[in-house]
């Protein structure tokens, strides 16, 4: 392509240059200032709203990913109805804990990365490929993580090749590990994980799995002040998503309300929730 392509209104040469199928690579070459990882970091520590707890559990035929709705800044509730679980593409979803603003931006770029690849190549990435791509993005955020602006997502999807739901968790350095059965991330994750550990079975139905994650979020909210439980007064319920071979589905308002009510009603009688059988 001819070099003088700016200012004529035609597509700049970079757009027509054959190259990578990655949107991030294109952005890095054409408009590097737009990549989150390329920003100059100022000194000091910034206070920003943090998203808290995300949980996931697999069941035969799929995976459930859910998140509470609270964002906190120090000991203040910054937002009561934040959304922290997003579809990544048709067969995967990502839930984010950590600095909300950066995390939402990362999800937006991640969604675009998958979609861009799909459009350019005419084929979707493998689930492993998607999980690795997310790893790279978290790693590029390490500078900010060191200033207290960490983003730690949980990635879940339906693996069409292996025909099952899979969960990947990450650390701030982009370290990726596949989780078996169930996983949690964020400030309430210790409590949520304990809850799921006692309730999880590998043969859950889809309905049992969605109930399980809401129970786990309830337990996280019970013991972690930064995690919000179902807010029955304001009609704010956890976001619950299910991914199966039919694709991504987010439970609608009525379904998540029914689920939250089922759990909270039982907790009125039994505040600590269902008991695991003792041996």
């Amino acid at each position: 392509m001819e070099p003088n392509t700016r200012g004529t209104g035609r597509l700049p040469a970079a757009f027509l240059t054959p190259g990578s199928s990655s949107f991030m690579d294109f952005l890095g070459a054409h408009a590097p200032e737009m990549l989150p990882g390329n920003r100059k970091l100022p000194e000091g520590v910034v206070e920003a709203p943090h998203g808290t707890t995300i949980v996931a559990a697999t069941f035969p035929g799929g995976v459930v990913l859910a998140g509470d709705r609270r964002a906190t800044m120090g000991n203040m509730i910054a937002q009561r109805d934040i959304e922290k679980v997003f579809p990544a593409d048709e067969y995967s979803a990502v839930g984010i804990a950590g600095t909300a603003g950066l995390a939402v931006e990362m999800v937006k770029l991640f969604q675009l990365e998958l979609e861009h690849f799909e459009k350019v190549e005419g084929a979707t990435l493998s689930l492993e490929g998607k999980a690795n791509r997310l790893s790279t993005m978290i790693r590029s955020n390490l500078g900010m993580a060191m200033q207290g602006l960490a983003v730690v997502p949980l990635f879940a999807g339906y693996d069409e090749a292996k025909e099952k739901g899979r969960i990947f968790s990450y650390d701030v350095t982009g370290g990726r590990s596949e989780e078996h059965g169930y996983a949690a991330t964020g400030s309430g994750s210790i409590f949520a994980r304990g809850s799921m550990k006692k309730l999880y079975r590998p043969d859950l139905t889809e309905e049992q799995a969605t109930t399980l994650v809401v129970q786990a979020l309830y337990d996280a909210a019970d013991d972690d002040s930064a995690t919000g439980g179902p807010d029955l007064y304001r009609h704010i319920y956890p976001i619950v998503t299910v991914i199966t071979d039919e694709g991504f589905r987010r439970l609608d308002e009525d379904e998540s309300q029914a689920l939250a009510r089922k759990v909270t009603d039982r907790r009125l009688e039994q505040p600590d929730g269902p008991r695991a059988a003792l041996l």
Partner: protein, 254 residues
């Protein structure tokens, strides 16, 4: 040093246009039609992997006739343009009109710059609206002009003949099956009056379906679904060779 021959600008442009048109005519034609729930793209394409139609963005589709490497280049440029724009602003700010303008500028600059070979491509950029009235279809010939089309459009070698065939028979509010069959008939009624049927496995079909629940409206139609649509019984009123006969009582009988 030898003095170059003088060629008048008119002649130079005419030569370039003829060169591009000949290149485009070598490829197979394709058609883009509006139907009740969106826009359908139909073309004959023996390849399963090298597409003539593709998704550019949520509501925007792309179709091209001509030289594969050239339109593939433009397609990827368009995907990059759309994704960058959507990332910078918002998904709603990516429009077919904007994309068509960028393509027109690109094709126009290439066509009129003496140093470059003109592209042998003809493009269609279509955007499905919330209603049929909001649908937009733009045809972009090799020289960078833009034509705003309604109802139906054909590009490629036999475009003129196919267009006039479609103009006579296309109606607003056709079902997908009706529009698809009309498109296949138009493509098979090639020159010399000798119709050659195009088997389903050689067809490439895609739609921008406004009723699709996903944000992304582009969908390829193949295999069983394509066969079903091609076989579906068309009510007599919409039979494409009969000029519309509004009160066809046979409708119910079928």
């Amino acid at each position: 040093m030898s003095t170059p021959f003088y060629v008048s600008p008119q002649q130079a442009m005419a030569d370039r246009a003829e060169y591009a048109r000949k290149g485009i005519a070598r490829g197979r034609s394709l058609v883009v039609l509006q139907y009740a729930d969106g826009i359908v793209f139909v073309g004959e394409n023996p390849s399963r992997a090298l597409h003539k139609f593709s998704e550019i963005y949520d509501r925007i589709g792309f179709a091209a006739a001509g030289k594969y490497n050239e339109y593939e280049n433009l397609r990827i440029g368009g995907v990059r343009y759309a994704d960058l724009r959507g990332y910078t602003y918002d998904r709603d700010d990516v429009t077919a009109r904007g994309l068509a303008n960028v393509y027109a500028q690109t094709l126009g600059t290439i066509f009129s710059s003496a140093g470059e070979k003109p592209y042998e491509v003809e493009l269609v950029v279509a955007e499905v609206g919330a209603t049929a009235a909001g649908d937009q279809i733009y045809r972009l010939p090799h020289d960078g002009s833009i034509v705003d089309e309604h109802g139906s459009v054909a590009v490629g070698g036999n475009a003129e003949q196919i267009s006039s065939y479609l103009d006579q028979r296309h109606q607003d509010g056709m079902t997908l099956s009706e529009a698809l069959k009309l498109a296949v008939q138009a493509l098979s009624s090639q020159a010399n009056g000798a119709d050659k049927a195009i088997p389903a496995e050689r067809l490439e079909v895609a739609v921008l379906d406004r009723t699709r629940s996903q944000q992304r409206k582009f969908k390829r139609i193949r295999g069983r679904q394509l066969a079903r649509l091609l076989e579906a019984e068309v009510p007599a009123a919409a039979q494409v060779d009969a000029v519309s006969n509004d009160e066809a009582p046979e409708d119910e009988a079928e």
